[in-house]
Symmetry: C2
Subunit: 506 residues, 2 copies
């Protein structure tokens, strides 16, 4: 085999996007832009500014922030100079930004891509490159006031996008930590027990209990006490009522602090009438290390894995193994879509120590604590829900209004390209979306077909005699309902106002 | 020194963004968003759809596309799986997209970040991470029709952003290649001689001649003939007139093909009255490998390096060397801003073979050629020009309209937080930008100060007696001109319409 052939065969495998990433185009882009615009409007309604941070950060900035998930971080190759990694979320870069600029308060939104080397499930919106839309409030404020505003943004964001069938699972890290203390878990074991509890949305209690006892070395008794609490969920009022009577909670300082927050939050979300969306769920733990207070995630029916997930997962793994045996290549086929759910569609929480962690790393002795709370919308996951509910036929991916055509014939006919461009330029200069065929001489049928495809509503026609001899343009409405309409002739100098008039009529 | 202290000292060096990248915030973001929106409107006016491709591509996709600049590509670390690189521009991913989806035509814009491991000059908008705004037309069309539309977009883009003092340097690869043939350069040497000629905007002819002869092995005679042509520049009409009488050009098939294109282009840009922006400049070569026809770049006075550039560059290099001797670390100090110009602020050209190159790599025997032409706006460079011309005091980075306050006191005063949230929620639900202080009890002075900082125009005040006893809100205009205005009382149930009315008045 020649070198060249080898090269071609090698390339023939790779005309694709990298695993877990995809191109976006046409109507998908329109839907996604609509999501961005809707959320941006809401974020601005709350007085936020926007920032943009680089796609990659110094590797050290990201280290020690994501617990078990740190293995999913993409690193850049060492090509000399600094060691960098692609950002994993927008929260850590935000905290770095606040610390670096010595800000004592900021309210900001940020819509940008983040990167995770995770198992993709493309049709469920679980990708390796994906957008987050984040809103965060940094600053020392009174308890639960910014937190409840963030709850309101979460609800407003989803309902404005037409998603009403969601619930916000909510918990408090201090209550959760209190429960682990009550159960007798040592402080240094709390995070790993917490991450076991976090799996309760995907696995039954028996599996989680096994992880707590067998894998993570807690006694049967400890697990039973944890189990008693983490099975609790319901409305804020109901769960607060249970906890307020619980001996364990009443005797635990941390849990009581958390409970006081939740009671205040209840007052505020009731004032805003968004309490009906909230489920106080003591099993919610969230994986990330940096949360210190309220934690929450919004879920829909599509969030959970399908009922036959386990079976499908085993099938997929078997298939993958047999493929590997045949051919040792990577493939986009290993996609988990069949056996995972969309997951949470928005999530967040309070992280009061992250900014100070950065400030202290600069060597400052008394770096101020800058408490933060925020929410992150998972655009791709929301997208996959909205797309499945959309009438795609009604979405236009271009906004063309006018199509410029030239009709004529004979030996001297040149298609009037220069004149078409002159006409087009006038339309563009007046802010009107206009196209023509990028050809000199074309027959009318083809031009009408192209106009129809473009979605244009009006044709501006340069007829050979009409234009060259009379200096006139024909303005005609397009679409089957105007098939019999021959349009109107107008002097070429002032055709724009007639076009504008007809566009407004339609 | 303990491990912990070492770790802290290490971190204390690195609370920064990676070299050549920066954070964007506040008014800078407002200016940049304005650039994006202006260009997006123009692109849409020409019937383009938008696409989004991943930030990283398979390494092989980018290989062999950028000539000498390939060394500037960022690679991702090999963490198992595919080898990937950060995209260097948006053109190659676009061509990959067209080939991969077997498109025979598309008109698209794409606004996104690209990555180059180049020497940064931050204040000149030359960065390692920067935005490009690209518009491209792919498809087989008649000569110079899409090309002249792209010229019109270039002019419209810059003038719409308030930049009128630019010129578009324009040339044609076929004319340039013809010149090299006329001079006697062998075909395989053409690209490297072309890249020497490309330096004529930064270096005098004598230096370039030396590179052609001494470094790149051409004879004195060859260099002299090249020199005669590449010194030609002026209006399309003037340079066409010279070339049409030139024996060399008349006898070279390639050059005559290029000249025919330029003559057609002249007709079209004159029809659109944008010819006055264009300078036909035979020294323009552009570095990238993939151009095959028309090439162009827009430059302003800020594009060129300062007159004392050489001197400043030597100073900077000396300083850098002495620093390196002292401390072997990377630093953001090595920035070339003092001795480089902004460079071209928009550029592009025709690349007719790039898509086919990808299609053929898939193993297709008769992959169709999909000719392309496009333009890329350099946002950061345009930004640095616009910012220097802007009145920053007049730019607001938030859009807050209303500030909600509570005034009261006494032992039973609680700040009415829940009631404030109820009022705020009504404003938000009506699409009104509104904020309050995230505190329970605050004195009126602080609330007015915060309202002023937020830029709000209207205060909605919950006065202790007015609100609790009479159920009324006070609506007051803000700003020094309304200092004596006590505002108006309105029933709390229907305060929104009064707020809307007052906002419209202001």
């Amino acid at each position: 085999m020649s070198e060249e052939t080898k090269q071609q065969q090698k390339l023939s495998l790779t005309l694709k996007t990298a695993k877990g990433t995809k191109d976006w185009a046409d109507k998908d882009m329109v839907i996604r832009q609509h999501i961005f615009q809707t959320l941006t409007n809401i974020f601005q309604k709350h007085g936020a500014i926007t920032i943009d941070t680089p796609v990659f950060e110094l590797k050290e900035i990201l280290q020690g922030k994501y617990g078990e998930d740190s293995k999913l971080i993409y690193d850049l190759k060492d090509q000399g100079g600094e060691l960098c990694s692609l950002r994993y979320d927008l929260t850590v870069p935000f905290a770095r930004f606040v610390a670096m600029n010595n800000l004592d308060k900021i309210k900001r939104y940020h819509i940008a891509k983040v990167y995770r080397r995770d198992q993709p499930a493309m049709t469920k919106g679980r990708m390796r490159e994906f957008y987050q839309c984040d809103f965060d409030v940094a600053g020392s404020y009174d308890a639960m006031i910014p937190d409840s505003e963030v709850m309101s943004i979460l609800v407003d964001g989803l309902t404005s996008l037409g998603i009403n069938d969601f619930k916000i699972k909510l918990n408090h890290r201090k209550i959760l930590d209190g429960i682990f203390q009550i159960a007798g878990v040592k402080d240094e074991d709390i995070r790993k027990i917490s991450s076991a509890v976090d799996k309760l949305d995907k696995a039954p209690w028996e599996d989680v209990k096994k992880e707590i006892t067998v894998e993570k070395g807690q006694t049967e008794e400890v697990a039973e006490i944890i189990g008693k609490y983490v099975k609790l969920s319901g409305s804020l009022a109901d769960v607060i009522a249970v906890l307020e009577k619980d001996e364990g909670i009443l005797s635990n300082e941390k849990a009581m602090e958390g409970l006081a927050d939740i009671k205040l939050l209840k007052e505020y979300v009731e004032a805003m009438q968004i309490d009906n969306f909230i489920s106080f769920d003591l099993s919610l733990a969230r994986g990330l290390d940096y949360y210190t207070g309220l934690i929450y995630e919004a879920v829909t029916a599509a969030s959970a894995p399908p009922s036959d997930a386990q079976e499908k997962k085993e099938q997929a793994l078997k298939k993958k193994d047999s493929k590997k045996a045949k051919k040792n290549g990577t493939s986009n086929d290993d996609d988990a879509s069949a056996y995972v759910g969309v997951g949470s569609i928005a999530a967040g929480g309070r992280y009061d120590n992250l900014v100070a962690m950065f400030s202290e790393a600069t060597g400052k002795k008394s770096a101020p604590q800058i408490p933060c709370v925020g929410v992150s919308f998972g655009v791709e996951r929301i997208f996959s829900i909205i797309k499945s509910r959309s009438n795609l036929d009604k979405i236009a991916s271009t906004s063309t209004q006018v199509y410029v055509m030239a009709f004529g014939g004979g030996a001297d006919w040149n298609g009037l390209t220069g004149d078409r461009l002159k006409i087009l330029k006038k339309l563009w200069d007046n802010g009107i979306e206009a196209e023509h065929m990028y050809k000199g001489k074309v027959n009318p049928r083809k031009q009408f077909d192209a106009a129809e495809k473009s979605g244009a509503k009006i044709a501006v026609i340069l007829g050979k005699e009409e234009y060259l001899q009379e200096g006139k343009l024909r303005i005609k409405k397009l679409g089957p309902e105007y098939a019999d309409d021959d349009g109107e002739l107008v002097a070429a100098e002032d055709f724009v106002s007639l076009v504008q008039f007809k566009l407004e009529e339609m």
